[in-house]
C-alpha cells in the first residue's frame, strides 16, 4: 500500500510507502492510498535514454539522434509532454520509442501529459540538455 498526495488541481504531487503522508500535505491538497508497492507504482511509466533514467543527461550538440525508450506496461497509448508539445504515442506491448534531434542546443524535458495519472517525477520524467 502506498500513500499518494494530490495537488489542488488533482495532479500527483508525490507518493511514498510511508503510511501517512500528512506531514507533506499543504492546504487544499488531498491524500489517498493505492493498493500497490512503491516499485510497481513508479514503474507504470518509465522514460529512458541510453539505459539512463531519472537523471539529467547532457549530450553534445550535433552528436546524432537520441532514442528515448518509453515503457508503460499494460497500456496501449501514452501521452507525453515534450517541452510544450503534447505527443500521443501508440504502445506495442507497453513500449514505444521517440527520436530526438541534437542539431540545436537547448533542453528537452519529457514528462507525462496526464499528471493526474502519472507523477511527473523520478523515472517518469527525463531531461536532456543538448550543449
Amino acid at each position: 500500500m502506498i500513500t499518494l498526495i494530490r495537488n489542488t488541481d488533482g495532479s500527483i504531487k508525490t507518493y511514498s510507502e510511508i503510511p501517512d503522508g500528512f506531514e507533506a500535505l499543504s492546504l487544499g491538497e488531498s491524500v489517498e492510498t493505492v493498493n500497490s508497492t512503491f516499485a510497481e507504482y513508479s514503474r507504470r511509466l518509465t522514460l529512458s535514454c541510453a539505459g539512463r533514467s531519472g537523471e539529467t543527461l547532457r549530450v553534445p550538440c550535433s552528436s546524432g539522434d537520441l532514442t528515448v525508450e518509453v515503457h508503460c506496461p499494460g497500456e496501449t497509448t501514452i501521452s507525453l509532454k515534450i517541452n510544450s508539445t503534447i505527443e500521443t504515442l501508440p504502445l506495442i506491448e507497453g513500449q514505444a520509442a521517440l527520436l530526438l534531434g541534437t542539431g540545436e542546443a537547448g533542453v528537452f524535458h519529457l514528462q507525462p501529459a496526464d499528471t493526474r495519472r502519472y507523477c511527473p517525477a523520478g523515472q517518469s520524467v527525463l531531461t536532456i540538455e543538448v550543449v
Binding site: T85, L98, L99, L100, E104, A105, G106, V107, F108
Partner: protein, 58 residues
C-alpha cells in the same frame, strides 16, 4: 524552454534566441571593427538587449 517541432518522426528543438545571441557575441564584437549598416546595427542592438534583459532576470 525552447519550443519543439516534429518532422519526419523526429523531435527537434527550435533555436533559442538567447542562446543564439550568446553564441554570436564574439561575432558581434568583431563587427564593430568595420563599418556596419543600419540594419546590422539594429540586429546588434537587439541581440545585446536580449542578452541584457535575461542577465537582469538571472
Amino acid at each position: 524552454m525552447a519550443a519543439v517541432t516534429k518532422s519526419n518522426g523526429k523531435f527537434t528543438l527550435q533555436p533559442d534566441p538567447l542562446l543564439a545571441a550568446r553564441a554570436r557575441s564574439a561575432q558581434d564584437k568583431s563587427s564593430l571593427d568595420k563599418g556596419i549598416s543600419e540594419s546590422e546595427l539594429r540586429a546588434l542592438l537587439a541581440s545585446n538587449l536580449l542578452r541584457l534583459e535575461h542577465l537582469e532576470q538571472e
